[in-house]
């Protein structure tokens, strides 16, 4: 247990170790640690930014949804209006058509009736002649009495 040359040897070893540590161990380790710290800090900042952006996007999406809803209800309203309009138009058209058909039918009926009346008239005159013949039991000369017949027929 005495001080001897070991002291010198150990001092030299110590200085070499410190030099090696200073040259080859400390700088790369520190650089890696600092770079990672920066990376992590950047990552955290990015995450925060992304969160903010997400919030913004959320608000935007809500806005758009609202707008789309109002647009949709507007479109539905418009469609309803248009439907009513179309129905009304159709109603009017149908009314007109009906009236036209009715008028046509009436005109037809009228002409049919006139035709029937005319026919009836001629038949009545024939019947009247036949009736008169039966009553008189003789033939009446249609030509001689045509004036009477005509008068009769026109009175019908």
């Amino acid at each position: 247990m005495s001080i001897n040359a070991t002291l010198i040897g150990q001092t030299i070893a110590f200085l070499i170790f410190v030099w090696f540590c200073m040259k080859f161990v400390w700088p790369p380790l520190m650089a890696a640690i600092e770079e990672r710290q920066k990376k992590i800090a950047d990552g955290l900042a990015d995450a925060e930014k992304a969160e903010k952006r997400l919030e913004l996007a959320d608000v935007k999406a809500k806005d758009q949804l609202k707008q789309a809803k109002s647009e949709a209800s507007e479109i539905v309203e418009q469609a309803n209006k248009r439907k009513n309009q179309i129905v009304d138009e159709a109603k009017v058209e149908a009314q007109a058509e009906r009236e036209k058909i009715i008028a046509q039918a009436q005109a037809e009926i009228e002409s049919e009736r006139n035709r029937a009346r005319e026919e009836l008239r001629t038949q009545v005159s024939a019947l009247a002649i036949a009736g008169a013949e039966k009553i008189l039991e003789r033939s009446i000369d249609p030509a001689a009495h045509s004036d009477i017949l005509d008068k009769l027929a026109s009175e019908l």
Binding site: N4, A5, G9, F17
Partner: protein, 280 residues
Amino acid sequence: MAASGETLTSAGYIKHHLTNLQYCSAENMVDGHCSGFWTFNVDSLFWSAVLGVVFLFLFRSVAKKADTGVPGKFQCFVEMIVEFVDQSVKDTFHGRSRLIAPLALTIFVWVFLMNLMDLIPVDWIPEVAMMAGIPYMKVVPPTDLNITFALGFSVFFLILFYTVKVKGVTGLVKELTLHPFSSPNKFVQALFIPVNLLLESVTLIAKPVSLALRLFGNMYAGELIFILIALMYGAGVLLGGLAGVLQLGWAIFHILVITLQAFIFMMLTIVYLSMASEDH
């Protein structure tokens, strides 16, 4: 149990464990023992060098692979130590120096590893060495005064170097002569100078000596207690069992001691160097 054939007594056993393996040139040999300054404690030098190389190899291997990706477990561990040392340095040392932090890291890890040798059961390595024909083997370098004084004096010279670098030679001289007593009167001041020189020199010398002796004392005492406990194994079943319990307890307690001593050595080095490079 006793390591060499010539000594089987308790005293011999202890003495054997506390003897360094020494090398010296032939003219320094006296009665088969080395004497004089030019003696090398081969075991202390060998183990401290091996542990220093282990430390540098481990840390260098991490430093080479270190990137910014997800670190492995060992890289995390190494970075944890590095950051712990870096934080300690930053908290205490406010100047800018490329040396202080690596120096602190080297001291902390190296001293810790050397102290850690204390936890290896005291007979293992000496017995193996004995089989290999090596008569003495002291495996805990800090139990050798030369080792701790080498560290302490290295720090001491760094203190002087930093004082001169920051304050100049005149700054160093002023620091040694104008404190702690000072007076505006030139004559009184001149009287104070020798007193101040004495006090400040003692303060300055006390720094490396206390560093070295603190580490040495703690480790030497711890080692000695391990040796005494080891002695009890040979004293019957009862004492042997007790020795097992004691060794376990002392080893667990010693984990704290070796870490604390390494930390104290590092911390005081930083403090001394920051004191040297700052104006009061």
